[in-house]
């Protein structure tokens, strides 16, 4: 019997990596196209996780477990993708800004983006604007995503916007920002392309920015 990809999606939603792996393996053995398994099983599951997180039905552990299950399955599927299949929805370079060592929010955004088919280059925390711009150029990033938890490190986001302008990588590369003290007004004030209040919204924002650019 053919693998039910809805069952695979359910395993992702429940964060059950062992069952997810078994179903993904079975689907591969049955000759299902890897991209179909990813889209209709893994990404479909992560989309539900994102929605549940957004409306407070899911909390951080549930997101972490779902992302782990997805990552493990991707480990099986990635080597089977053709070059055409392997094309991500977009490439995002992500970091917590200079002077700020907080990484929970940034990690969640990173996981949710990966879970929704983006390639993510995570530069970590306390990252200099020049390093972000270098990485964005090197990976031909569609989006630079920066996070700040401290009021005092928010101005570093403005430096990232200025550095991107100076490097001439905009508007091809969009800049999105987030973090506890960050607001939509602040994004407008510094000239960023968007603000997301949480990880699931960051995925929606990234998708809408890419759709608008297409």
């Amino acid at each position: 019997m053919a693998v039910d990809l809805q069952a695979l999606a359910e395993c992702i939603i429940r964060g059950n990596k062992n069952d997810a792996l078994a179903l993904a393996q079975q689907a591969i053995e049955e000759g299902m196209a890897p991209q179909t398994i990813i889209n209709d099983g893994l990404i479909a599951g992560m989309a539900v996780v994102g929605q549940r997180f957004k409306c407070n039905e899911y909390y951080i552990p549930e997101v972490l477990l779902a992302a782990r299950a997805m990552k493990e399955c991707m480990g099986l599927l990635r080597p089977l993708l053709t070059d055409a299949d392997a094309k991500p929805k977009g490439t995002v370079v992500i970091a917590t800004v200079k002077g700020d060592l907080h990484d929970i929010g940034k990690n969640l955004v990173s996981m949710m983006l990966q879970g929704n088919g983006f390639e993510v280059v995570d530069l970590g925390t306390d990252v200099d604007p020049d390093e972000l711009i270098r990485a964005a150029k090197q990976h031909r990033a569609d989006i630079i995503a920066t996070s700040a938890l401290l009021t005092t490190t928010m101005p570093a986001m403005k430096e990232v916007v200025a550095a991107a302008d100076e490097a001439g990588i905009r508007p091809a590369t969009r800049i999105i920002i987030g973090g506890a003290p960050v607001t939509q007004e602040y994004a407008q004030e510094i000239g960023a392309d968007g603000f997301a209040p949480d990880a699931a919204s960051a995925v929606d924002l990234a998708q809408s920015l890419l759709a608008a650019a297409a």
Binding site: G15, Y59, I60, P61, T151, T152, A180, P181
Partner: protein, 352 residues
Amino acid sequence: MENSRALVLQACAGVRPERTPLFDSLLNDAVIAHFAGRPLDGTDDAATVARAAGKALDVVCRMPLPDQAGRTWTDERGSRHVAGRWNDWTVAHGLQSPAEWAAWIARHIERYEAGTLPDAQSRAAAAAQQRAMDRRLDGALFVHCRPATALNAACYDHCGFETFSYLWMDYRDLVEHWLRALQSARRRCLALSAPTTACPLAVVYADIAFNHRLIFSPAMLAEVGFFDDLADICEQCHRYGLQVIFHSDGYLMEVLPDLVAAGIDGLNPIEAAAGMDIHAIRRRYPELILAGGVDAARLLPLASPGEVRRETRRIIQAVGSEGRLLIGSSAEVDDTIPLVNYLAFHEEAMRG
């Protein structure tokens, strides 16, 4: 400060004191230099910090010392840490996979479970240490008793909540055993520090939330025994005559009824920027001691001194009119807060 104990006892008993007591931790060079009358220069910084805290505050939650920013070290588990001036960070865990952590936990459970209740000698030593610290503070009260829930000890002292989430899924029985062992170790520590402390408060540091939401679902908190564990801490503290202030950053409203039911007497730091409304909490829980409340995310770092004074006055009048308010920052007094704003806050609070 003079008379801190009497003020704090009055405030906590629901009597409006002569002035609202100040409750905080100082991690700000300029503020410390101002109150200590000397800068932190590496020569007896402990005395400088204590002198400043003793002059500025009635209740001193924590008293960290400045470090050499950028200093790094590796601990016995192979985790790498880096020091900031006032805080340190784990930048890489030595143990990577849940399986490695599970093996480490299995080896260490015995260590946490071992031992007996503190004997008279160790209690006397703890009391002497507390008295020495209290003397340096010149009347201000230091919170010697800071018990952690087993969940928070597991997450923040050991594996981090990401790894904890994986362990909870993959090694449930082991983790339950570990939490019981951590709880038993905590009970012994509490029995050592609580009976002799001059400060009538215990502060439970238990970060379970962040901006506008909880980290763990209420269901998971119940499942890992968090509320039962908190009730155990409250019961033990109450037996020693201590009132329990529960500390968590972030937005707690979803579980505030559970925290109150567990027996907490107060809440700290009440982060407005994370969505906590101190006025709404006061209306809903008139008996709760509220500690903190003055926004340290935007107001104290960025507003004008006049705005800081007005907000401080507004909170004192609206929330502390019948006591049960220990006013302070909604985090800690760190270097993001300009001296002029802290002084505006402090002067306003000292006006009574």
